[in-house]
């Protein structure tokens, strides 16, 4: 009974937070400089007509009318029409969501594999941990944009590599701490003292103890990955959601921006629900 209730509460909270995220985006964009500009103004041929049209539309520029338009777009299922591209937002998002999802999945998978492969042996070491962890500390100190630039310049790697390095650098630190605490548990120390093989210890003690605590880390990983999606997609010109959000930001394309913010908020929310569900199942 507790498990479905917790999931339902979390889902309701996520939906409310998504509504707040959408409202916040509308407010920010509505008051952003350049929101009222129209590219047709630059063309003398259209300037007068565009200005007259904008003047006529001015009644529809209030926050309430923007909110109504946004909600009616959601109800139609197309999320409104893109101001920049003149097509339904759902079309734009549908074409890009697969690209971003694939990139995220590959980056997260490779990053976690990389972090686990490094953290497991380093956590079992008795000396030289700091030295072995140094590459990850250095990676943590390099901004994502600099990593992407380095990849582009050296013509080595690509967005997946940068994603995986960002994730690995961040998760290695947490994984190492988690595994270190598992290795220093009294029963594991006793097992080591008895000469139990490392693989047996890993299988029966370390992995079962550490696994439930990995779920919140996965959630954090997803949030980190979503955060770096924009710079990576922009710098590598990957036609995904991050690049779409970037173009929408630069062009004050409100319907697209609201849709991408909602996507981001829902991804974070779903990751949170996943983490809560895993914890509730474990408690049960």
């Amino acid at each position: 009974m507790r498990f479905p209730a917790e999931i339902a509460a979390r889902m309701t909270r996520t939906l409310l937070l998504m509504a707040v995220a959408a409202a916040g985006t509308i407010l920010l964009v509505r008051f952003a400089p350049g929101f009222f500009s129209d590219p047709r103004e630059m063309d003398a041929k259209y300037a007068a007509a565009a200005r007259a049209e904008m003047w006529a539309d001015s009644s529809q520029r209030s926050i309430a009318s923007i909110a109504v338009q946004t909600v009616s777009g959601w109800r139609r299922g197309d999320f409104g029409e893109s101001r920049q591209f003149g097509v339904p937002v759902s079309e734009l998002v549908r074409a890009r969501i697969r690209v971003s999802a694939l990139l995220l999945a590959e980056g997260l998978g490779a990053g976690w594999l990389f972090a686990l492969c490094a953290a497991v042996p380093v956590s079992a070491m008795r000396r030289g941990q700091a030295l072995c962890g140094l590459p990850f500390t250095i990676l943590l100190a390099i901004p994502t944009a600099a990593m992407a630039t380095a990849c582009i310049l050296s013509e080595q790697g690509g967005p997946v590599l940068v994603f995986s390095l960002v994730i690995a650098a961040r998760e290695f630190k947490f994984l190492r701490a988690l595994l270190e605490s598992a290795w220093s548990a009294p029963h594991v120390l006793w097992g080591r003292a008895q000469g139990m093989p490392v693989l047996t210890l890993m299988r029966f003690h370390i992995v079962p103890n550490a696994a439930p605590r990995l779920f919140p880390l996965v959630t954090l990983s997803i949030v980190t990955a979503l955060g770096v999606l924009v710079p990576i997609e922009v710098m590598f010109t990957v036609p995904g959601i991050g690049q779409l959000a970037w173009a929408a930001l630069m062009n004050r394309d409100l319907p697209v921006l609201v849709a991408t913010s909602l996507l981001m908020a829902s991804a974070v929310g779903v990751a949170g629900v996943f983490s809560t569900g895993a914890r509730a199942l474990e408690d049960a």
Partner: protein, 266 residues
């Protein structure tokens, strides 16, 4: 010991940056059009950029602006988080729930994405100083939610401590309890959080700057200087173009060592 070495290194870096700005015959914006993309020379020890601006001077200025801005922003974030956490902890349950919902609303969108939205929707064509202030203020005002929640959790757990109950029993008011008891106890928690924020803000500024959303030209910043790396002609001419990123990594490693040390003592 390690933290002392890091501290001395950081002070040396800051002092040398300040001395460079004081004694070099150029400022960060002055251009030498006869020496654009120049290699290292006696006049320009680390060469010049595409506009003939001295790289050592610009890196020195970026170091001071980056660290100064990040420290200031981290200070503001710490204050906001402390105020938020204390306010929520001392509020009645419905008000506390509402405040926590507000912090969750900020956390519902990834931080870097939120930063980009907020920064790009603020004026980009302002004076360089205004863009620098705006960038660091955006970092400060969006950096507090997770930290504020942690302060709230810490304060809630302290409210039931014996020394708090005794403080209440002796007639201390909420303000006095906060000033005399809670803040001194929370400092062991606030200081590491502040130290975590400083490198995080430096990296965030660098990421924003690399997308053209950071500090405006000609004021130098880590992010702005990373953009130089996109100029392949410049890279072919001089390896000094890597100086900003190398120095940034060194500074972040020094700051990371502070954080590790303080966290281990907390």
């Amino acid at each position: 010991m390690k933290v002392r070495i890091s501290f001395v290194l950081l002070l040396l870096l800051l002092a040398s940056a300040a001395l460079t700005l004081r004694f070099m015959p150029f400022d960060y914006a002055s251009q030498d059009r006869t020496a654009t993309m120049a290699a290292a020379s006696a006049e320009h020890p680390a060469g010049t950029d595409a506009l003939g601006r001295d790289r050592v001077v610009r890196v020195s200025a970026a170091l001071l602006i980056g660290i100064g801005g990040a420290v200031g922003a981290a200070g503001i974030t710490t204050m906001i988080a402390a105020a938020f956490g204390l306010l929520a902890a001392f509020s009645p349950a419905p008000a506390a729930a509402l405040l926590l919902f507000v912090s969750d609303a900020f956390l519902s969108v990834p931080w870097l994405f939120l930063l980009m939205i907020a920064r790009s929707l603020l004026p980009l064509t302002a004076s360089p100083l205004a863009t620098a202030v705006t960038t660091f203020l955006v970092l400060a005002f969006l950096g507090w939610p997770a930290f504020g929640r942690a302060v709230y959790g810490g304060t809630r757990s302290m409210l039931s401590a014996e020394w708090m109950i005794q403080g209440r029993a002796t007639g201390l008011r909420d303000g006095q309890l906060i000033r005399l008891h809670l803040l001194p106890h929370l400092s062991s928690f606030l200081v590491p959080q502040f130290l975590i924020c400083v490198p995080a803000f430096i990296v965030a500024e660098a990421n924003l700057g690399a997308l053209g959303l950071g500090v405006g030209e000609p004021m130098p910043s880590w992010g702005g200087m990373l953009l130089e790396l996109e100029n392949s002609a410049m890279i072919a001419r001089s390896h000094w173009v890597y100086l900003p990123i190398a120095l940034l990594v060194v500074v972040l490693l020094i700051l990371e060592s502070f954080t590790t040390e303080v966290k281990s003592h907390a």
